[in-house]
């Protein structure tokens, strides 16, 4: 049997094949040229992943190497509700919620509601404690999974919170060292671009582009964790006992300005910043300005002795008050002392005596020494949110201001400024810039912070004279409650009134403070304790001195400083 095909049919068939071939060729040419990149991208997207590799945030340690803050990856629990089914295909959302609720300390109905919300993917709890995550993982529940997320941990809890600051949910450092050194601590993220198989595993033979993350620098602080713990413990106890509104303590090494401890009350737990109020986040030791009161008399007398207008034995007749600028400025309870030396002015904390000394010195020189001691300007400590305090320009002084400023009214300072000024007296007359970060450990080695001597403020002789006078103030004078067994202490108390919004002073409210250093002959630590509105008003500065004694006793013990008295 033979079949015949006409030439016309053959031509049609051939034409159809030709057209089909041309169409296919054109399509092929299109995908090979114009559409090539699109196809390539689609294919690459299926196997290629380009990820940002997070840098490890640096560790913060105290001066002896104890960890104060570090970052570790913790497991975050997520749920894919659609996958919550058993083998028979029955919904298990309720059972899953009931199983994990007691472990998470959450109500089962709250979890069930989250699973039933219709969301495809939901975080159940982020950054779980390791033990909790392990217990949930052991249940092997369908529809639950874990994802690693970095968490900043503070092993000592709230100790040092005001110095350390914290890291917010976006990974940015806030306040304290975390805020000031955020760029150094954060490091630089890297990049990893690799091809992956369907199981999301990297292919060893695939494309691989990796830029290694540069981890953040580790910081070693000047803070001594033992001293810091003692300071915070005593400050908290004192504030609670005295029902004070707030308090602050600074401990400095006068030899180079290193900050050994800074505490502020109220405080917060850096791991639970969300529950802290704004006032607790404020480091009052560096950002709270207050009228210092009588602790400033030491500065006034140092200036006058350094200027050579008085000596410790210079005498005047105290009648209980002084008149300056047409105003009468009284001693405490306007008590008259009669013939009084400059040493006794300090030991008895006589306002009229301070006015007498300031009168000898003059406003211009007093202002110059205040500036030299660093009042009215930031100390430059390497912490966020420092205040500079207020010392009005000399041109704005009224005549009476010479008198009031001489005993610490009419200007405002921070506790850290006062500590730095007393450190200058303690170390022989040099003002150092306080600093908190002792060294940074980077990839290229360790960078140590060199202490910065800002300026010489008084001569060595003046500083030695003041140390002796302040020692007398503690041994025989108004600050006797601050004396320590077997250690010489130099210091001065301060009871300052609190100005109100209308410019007057608030009745029955004081700021109680003590500033001093130990041992007086070879000072190793400077302490400033400030309490706002302690309730035992009649006792004045006693709460501050008691806090100083407790803190100094522990600090000297931890620092193994040898007693200098029998």
């Amino acid at each position: 049997m033979t079949a015949t095909i006409s030439h016309a049919r053959l031509r049609v068939l051939f034409a159809l094949f030709t057209v089909a071939s041309l169409v296919l060729s054109a399509r092929l040419a299109y995908w090979q040229t114009i559409g090539r990149s699109d196809l390539l991208n689609r294919a690459t997207d299926q196997v290629y992943s380009d990820l940002v590799v997070a840098a490890q945030r640096g560790v913060i340690r105290d001066r002896s190497g104890a960890i104060l803050a570090t970052t570790v990856e913790l497991r975050s629990l997520y749920a894919i509700p659609a996958q919550m089914k058993d083998r028979a295909g029955n919904d298990t959302k309720g059972a899953v919620a009931a199983a994990i609720a007691p472990i998470l300390g959450e109500r089962a109905d709250v979890l069930s509601a989250a699973f039933e919300s219709g969301a495809e993917w939901v975080f159940v709890r982020r950054r779980l404690p390791e033990e909790t995550a392990t217990r949930i993982a052991a249940l092997h529940l369908a529809g639950l999974g874990f994802e690693m997320e970095p968490k900043r941990l503070y092993p000592s809890g709230s100790v040092g919170a005001q110095v350390l600051g914290f890291v917010n949910d976006d990974g940015l450092g806030q306040y304290g060292v975390e805020g000031r050194y955020d760029a150094e601590l954060a490091g630089t993220p890297g990049r990893l671009a690799v091809t992956r198989d369907p199981a999301n595993r990297e292919l060893a033979l695939g494309l691989r582009t990796a830029v290694a993350a540069q981890n953040g620098q580790d910081l070693v602080l000047t803070i001594d964790l033992a001293v810091q713990s003692a300071v915070e413990r005593e400050l908290a106890a004192t504030v609670e006992r005295e029902k004070a509104a707030s308090g602050a303590v600074v401990v400095l090494d006068p030899r180079d300005g290193a900050v050994l401890a800074i505490a502020s009350s109220p405080t917060y737990d850096p791991a639970r910043v969300g529950s802290a109020n704004a006032e607790a986040l404020r480091n009052r030791a560096i950002s709270w300005t207050y009228e210092p009161g009588s602790t400033m008399k030491a500065i006034t007398i140092a200036a006058a002795i350094d200027r050579g207008v008085v000596t410790p034995r210079t005498t005047y007749d105290d009648v209980g008050y002084a008149v300056i600028g047409g105003r009468r400025l009284c001693n405490a309870q306007c008590k008259a002392y009669g013939p009084t030396t400059v040493t006794q002015i300090l030991a008895r904390s006589q306002n009229a005596g301070a006015v007498f000394v300031a009168g000898k010195l003059g406003a211009s020189d007093l202002d110059r020494y205040l500036q030299a001691f660093g009042f009215g300007q930031r100390t430059g400590v390497d912490l966020d949110a420092e205040s500079g305090g207020i010392v009005r320009p000399l041109a704005e002084w009224y005549p009476v201001d010479l008198g009031t400023i001489s005993f610490g009214q009419g200007l405002s300072i921070t506790p850290l400024q006062l500590a730095a000024a007393y450190a200058a007296i303690a170390n022989g007359g040099t003002l150092y810039r306080p600093y908190v970060v002792a060294s940074r450990r980077a990839a290229d080695g360790e960078h140590r912070t060199a202490p910065v001597a800002v300026r010489r403020v008084v001569s060595e002789e003046t500083a030695a004279t003041l140390r002796t006078m302040l020692t007398t103030t503690v041994d025989e004078g108004i600050a006797n409650a601050a004396a320590l067994a077997r250690y010489s202490v130099a210091g001065k108390t301060g009871t300052a009134q609190i100005p109100s919004d209308d410019g007057r002073y608030v009745d029955d409210a004081y700021i109680s403070s003590f500033a001093g250093f130990v041992p007086a002959v070879d000072p190793r630590m400077v302490f400033v304790v400030v309490l706002e509105r302690p309730q035992s008003k009649l006792l004045g500065t006693v709460p501050a001195m008691n806090a100083f004694k407790a803190i100094a006793t522990d600090a000297l013990r931890y620092a193994r400083i040898q007693p200098d008295r029998p």
């Binding site: 990856e73 092993p155 713990s229």
Partner: protein, 135 residues
């Protein structure tokens, strides 16, 4: 011409050529026979060579695949070990943090209070100079 005729035409031509060749003299046939033998050996050699090349290529591809598979397997193993290393590092970091927490002076203080311990009122300090002088 029908489609069947068109298909059969080459075969018919080959049969005609064969009949024509059978009609030529014997000496020419012997000569062609020897040429055919030489031609056949060349074909065998070519076939063998081509087969050899194909087998060699096949073996090379097999070798490549074996190596690629081994590298991939090693890559997966390296990834598994890297993940294991990272997890161990994480566990170690958690232990270091736990150690720091336990060493914290504030915790020690609280624990001491819980145990009823009291702070020593005085601590005797022996001056180093005195000890040195006694020696």
């Amino acid at each position: 011409m029908t489609f069947a005729q068109a298909v059969r035409a080459p075969q018919a031509r080959r049969v005609q050529r064969r009949l024509h060749r059978q009609a030529v003299p014997h000496h020419r046939s012997a000569k062609r026979h020897s040429r055919r033998i030489r031609g056949a050996s060349w074909e065998i050699r070519s076939f063998a060579l081509a087969s050899g090349v194909i087998v060699a290529c096949f073996l090379l591809v097999l070798l490549y695949l074996a190596q690629a598979t081994a590298v991939s397997a090693a890559g997966y193993e390296a990834q598994r070990l890297a993940a294991q290393r990272d997890e161990l590092r994480r566990q170690n970091a958690l232990l270091v943090i736990e150690s720091a927490r336990l060493d914290s002076p504030a915790r020690v203080e609280a624990e001491a209070q819980r145990l009823g311990l009291v702070r020593a009122a005085t601590i005797r300090v022996v001056a180093a100079e005195a000890v040195a002088a006694a020696r």
